[in-house]
């Protein structure tokens, strides 16, 4: 049993273990970078998406242009988007964050709009009848009721962003993805490649699970309704 696959696994296990032990600090640092880039981009994306959604809902004429633009941005390949930004913002965290934030908009805007539009009309009317002004209605009634759908959008955007962060290795960031670029430069050094490829997947699945818990904690009523 010394097929190529077996020798691949056995031949690499020892040096891989050694590399992991020696580079634990660097790996943790890149993991923190990965989380920071993701969190900042999702945070900015949420602020922008809420603002654009409010505009789209108040001025119906802007509705389609806004949703279309978010969709078109999402179809730009990431391998092209970060280079496109380079002449203007250089090899900086700004470039990384602008690109990542742009990619979050589609899912966030879509789910915010769907969430708010599916708030029952009689609830809105009841609130209006009680004298809620438009802004108060939005913050105290519509947003909370739309929360499950919005959080679902945040989950999808987060998982997607964690994957996309790896591409920012192109401009010197990349979180765990840094190790993929590093491994490509160092003669396909397998431990680096595998850490760069597998760690983001683990992170994405963990983040997905964590956000599901947040969703349940923040929307106890939906659990009661479901049960």
């Amino acid at each position: 049993m010394t097929g190529p696959l077996t020798s691949l696994v056995l031949g690499q296990a020892a040096p891989a273990g050694q590399w992991l032990r020696q580079n634990g600090d660097v790996i943790v640092d890149r993991g923190i970078e990965h989380l920071q880039l993701t969190a900042i981009s999702i945070g900015l994306g949420l602020v922008i998406s809420i603002a654009l959604s409010v505009i789209a809902l108040r001025y119906r004429r802007t509705y389609r242009p806004i949703t279309m633009a978010a969709g078109v941005v999402f179809t730009i390949p990431s391998i092209a988007l970060f280079p496109v930004l380079r002449p203007y913002f250089g090899l900086t965290a700004t470039t990384a964050i602008i690109g990542l934030t742009l990619y979050t908009l589609l899912f966030l805007i879509r789910n915010i709009l769907v969430g708010i539009e599916s708030v029952p009309a009689d609830v809105v009317e009841a609130a209006e009848g009680q004298g809620y002004a438009r802004n108060r209605l939005f913050v105290e009634i519509e947003l909370p009721l739309a929360l499950p759908v919005i959080l679902a959008g945040v989950r999808i955007a987060t998982v997607t962003t964690i994957g996309l962060v790896t591409i920012t290795g192109l401009i010197g960031y990349g979180g765990f993805g840094f190790f993929i670029f590093d491994g490509l430069r160092s003669n396909l050094y397998l431990p680096k490649l595998l850490v760069g490829a597998l760690a983001p997947m683990v992170l994405a699945l963990l983040a997905d699970g964590a956000l599901q818990l947040v969703e349940r904690a923040l929307t106890p009523w939906s659990r009661r309704a479901a049960g």
């Binding site: 190529p4 696959l5 691949l8 279309m68 969709g71 078109v72 999402f74 179809t75 390949p77 990431s78 391998i79 092209a80 280079p83 496109v84 380079r86 002449p87 990619y103 589609l106 899912f107 879509r110 999808i156 998982v159 997607t160 964690i162 994957g163 996309l164 790896t166 591409i167 290795g169 192109l170 993805g177 993929i180 670029f181 491994g183 490509l184 396909l188 397998l190 490649l193 595998l194 760069g196 490829a197 597998l198 983001p200 997947m201 994405a204 699945l205 997905d208």
Partner: protein, 243 residues
């Protein structure tokens, strides 16, 4: 803006089209990466999706593929392609790793959309066909697949566009195609070259979409065709993966 003008200048210069590193050669390389990957993925994923949809038994697998598929970075697919090609199969760097990566990439949209399309075929049609004595095989080939075919073509269109737009990552593994222009321009700060590469990729992706549309017009029965409104944008969104 300057980079854009340089890019147009680059594209307008006939000298850049010929030669063994010219646009035409890169175009052929790009197509050589995409076509085998897409066809192989279609051969695997479409029959699997059709069968799973017919037996209505792929829900768990479908959801799993959709969730995990989104969590796998495109770059990780390239890494898996590299390991498979270089370490396991001994096929070397530069061509096969990208083909494998693009193959993996296309599986997810093809399978999930085909599965959903076949599963969602109107039940009354299926019951009617059964009532008329169709056996499972005829039901599948003469009712379910034709009725699902517009959505299956949508799946092919998304997969094709994603493959064409993602192929440039192959340039990271010494591959050819238009990604070369992007990464070479990026590396040497020749932004005109870089933008030219990006423009060429976008044009090729658009051309691919039109090509799949044209094939669909020939292949799908008139009465079943969807309006062209379903488009790459909404579907790329549905498949949930940025390239």
């Amino acid at each position: 803006m300057e980079a854009l003008i340089d890019a147009v200048g680059f594209l307008a210069d006939p000298g850049n089209w010929a030669g063994d590193r010219g646009i035409l050669v890169r175009l052929i390389e790009h197509i050589q990466l995409c076509v085998p990957a897409l066809l192989a993925a279609m051969v695997v994923a479409i029959p699997a999706g059709v069968l799973a949809g017919h037996h209505r038994r792929g829900q768990a697998i479908g959801t799993f593929i959709a969730n995990v598929g989104r969590a796998i970075p495109t770059l990780a697919l390239l890494v898996f392609g590299l390991i498979l090609s270089v370490r396991v199969l001994g096929l070397g760097i530069s061509y096969w790793p990208t083909v494998f990566a693009l193959f993996f990439l296309a599986l997810h949209p093809l399978f999930t959309n085909t599965y959903t399309a076949v599963k969602n075929v109107d039940r009354s049609l299926v019951e009617a066909a059964r009532g008329m004595g169709y056996d499972e095989r005829r039901l599948l080939l003469e009712v379910e697949v034709p009725v699902a075919s517009p959505v299956i073509f949508t799946a092919i269109r998304i997969a094709a566009v994603q493959v064409v737009a993602t192929a440039p990552i192959g340039a990271l593994a010494a591959g050819g195609g238009f990604g070369r222009f992007v990464l070479d321009g990026f590396g040497s700060r020749d932004y005109g070259l870089m933008y030219a590469g990006i423009i060429l990729i976008a044009l090729l992706a658009l051309a691919t979409e039109r090509l799949v549309d044209a094939i669909e017009r020939v292949a799908v029965p008139d009465g079943l065709r969807l309006d062209a409104e379903d488009d790459v944008v909404s579907v790329a969104a549905a498949s949930g993966r940025a390239v």
